[in-house]
């Protein structure tokens, strides 16, 4: 699903944010991306949803070399990628259902269908009863679930989540993580950037660890959990 070969990302005048990254994430995998703040986790995710381009190296998404992709082709690739952010990025001027349906509006889906599919997705994240309220009236956990519903409403092949539980208390964190594992169980490839070692210990998934822009570990299962808890 995602392959990177000797990827470096640098901004003019600054030291590189990512150095010689090599990785291969297969279709249907659940991967944690971890490391301390400033390690380059968000930048790596941005390379995955094409908000940034690599300075050097090759990035392949679903087998397509993104370096060869024209700017005009990026939106079409993004339609297969759902993204969840720590700050939710919900629109306060729209209702919860409208926020979820935003993704389908972009695809030119008829209005009735947008509403139906949005409600269905809200039911899946347990928020159908909040469909017509403003996101501002929701708790942090609820807002993140709306954000997740928006990312999933068009059944993307890949879900990227950047610190999705960063603003949530432990109970809400588990709630969101359970939703993410459920999505993964249905076949969606999921990449979660987090610096929360307890999550990695609890879910025991493949874990990539970044430090100062370099990939320092790539472990799976219990070994990943042990390694990450030691380095945390």
């Amino acid at each position: 699903m995602i392959q990177m070969f000797h990827v470096t990302k640098a901004y003019p005048g600054d030291p590189p944010v990512l150095v010689d990254i090599n990785l291969d994430i297969e279709k249907g995998e659940f991967v944690f991306l971890t490391g301390p703040s400033g390690a380059g986790k968000s930048t790596l995710l941005k390379l995955m949803f094409l908000a940034e381009r690599a300075s050097r190296g090759q990035v392949l998404l679903a087998g397509r070399n993104v370096a060869r992709l024209r700017e005009s082709g990026i939106p079409f690739l993004r339609r297969n990628i759902g993204v969840v952010f720590q700050d939710f990025k919900l629109l306060p001027t729209r209702t919860v259902a409208e926020n979820v349906g935003f993704t389908l509006d972009v695809l030119g889906t008829p209005r009735d269908e947008v509403r139906d599919r949005s409600l269905k997705m809200l039911r899946r994240v347990g928020l159908e009863h909040k469909a017509d309220v403003s996101p501002l009236k929701l708790s942090g956990g609820e807002q993140q679930r709306v954000s997740l519903a928006r990312a999933l409403v068009n059944d993307p092949a890949l879900l990227l989540a950047d610190e999705p539980t960063g603003n949530l208390d432990p109970a809400l964190t588990v709630e969101i993580m359970d939703l993410l594992t459920d999505v993964n169980a249905r076949g969606t490839t999921v990449v979660v950037a987090t610096h929360d070692a307890t999550l990695i210990e609890r879910y025991q998934k493949r874990t990539l660890r970044l430090e100062k822009g370099t990939m320092v570990a790539d472990e799976r299962g219990a070994k990943a959990a042990r390694l990450m808890s030691q380095s945390a």
């Binding site: 005009s72 939106p75 339609r79 993204v83 001027t93 935003f102 972009v106």
Partner: protein, 299 residues
């Protein structure tokens, strides 16, 4: 992907944006409307001026003087040739008719002319020209070609007055072009500025749209529609304002503006004026929004 669904979404978004921030849109519409009212008034003034020029232009005649030895059949040939060449009406003036006119023009002083034994005046042809041939250059060319014809001794067409009239009309045209270019440029800047504000207010929305796979075109079309809607609304209001102004002038209560009336009635081609106002309004709205979206939708 459904095109009608997308179009419906674009229209909803554009109208929603206008409804959500009416103040900035009112400024843009007012600015556009004032420019269009100015244009509409100038257009009507120009129509009245054209009518005036036409009425003066109706007097434009080419007088062709012939040699004394031109036989009547030669005069007939020339009359036919000039009719074909100019597409106008040719009137043959005999020496006797010419002398009669001169005597009438001179009044008391011309009485002596009636006692002449020989009429010294030649045959002449008066050509009343069609509208298309009334500009100074076309007349000069026609006069030159006519002078080269046999039996023609001279051609007169009041060239000085015509050139002056043409110059005035051209100066007015250039002045209005400059003034309206500036006025329309200002309107475009205002429309562009209001849409930049609208884009700024919706920057979060644009960012999310792009994240979920919206193309640049998808992001930009609602803003272009907003500009277009501003143009349509402004044109409708401008047309209503110009109509009200014309009605007021024609009602006779126009006070100082009453001089603008021509025979008590203003000549206005309403369908054409409406077409121009809506065309220019939509064009300015679209140009303003196009400038704004080109520069400010790159998130």
């Amino acid at each position: 992907m459904s095109a009608p669904a997308k179009l419906a979404y674009f229209v909803r978004t554009a109208v929603g944006s206008i409804v959500r921030s009416p103040f900035v849109h009112v400024i843009a519409v007012a600015s556009l409307m004032l420019s269009l009212v100015g244009f509409g008034v100038a257009r009507i003034a120009r129509t009245q001026l054209d009518a005036l020029v036409d009425s003066l232009g109706g007097e434009v005649e080419l007088t062709v003087y012939l040699t004394e030895d031109a036989a009547p059949e030669r005069v007939t040939e020339l009359e036919l040739a000039l009719t074909q060449r100019t597409g106008g009406q040719v009137h043959r003036v005999s020496p006797a008719e010419a002398l009669g006119r001169l005597v009438t023009q001179l009044g008391e002083d011309g009485k002596g002319l009636t006692e002449l034994s020989d009429n010294p005046l030649p045959w002449s042809l008066e050509v009343r020209l069609p509208k298309a041939a009334r500009d100074a250059q076309a007349l000069a060319d026609l006069a030159k070609r006519t002078r080269a014809l046999p039996f023609v001794t001279g051609v007169d067409y009041g060239e000085e007055a015509l050139e002056r009239l043409t110059l005035i009309a051209r100066a007015l045209e250039i002045a209005s072009l400059i003034v309206f270019s500036l006025v329309f440029l200002t309107a475009v800047i205002v429309v562009s500025a209001t849409l930049q504000l609208a884009i700024f207010a919706r920057r979060e929305e644009i960012e999310i749209q792009k994240l979920v796979g919206a193309t640049d075109r998808f992001v930009r079309v609602p803003f272009l529609l907003e500009g277009l809607l501003q143009g349509v609304i402004a044109a409708g209001l401008a047309l209503a304002a110009v109509y009200g102004l014309v009605r007021w002038l024609q009602s006779g209560d126009g006070g100082l503006l009453a001089f603008a009336r021509l025979d008590g009635k203003l000549l206005v081609d309403w369908p054409r004026l409406a077409g121009e106002l809506f065309g220019i309004g939509c064009g300015l709205g679209l140009i303003g929004s196009f400038i704004a979206v080109r520069r400010f939708t790159r998130v």
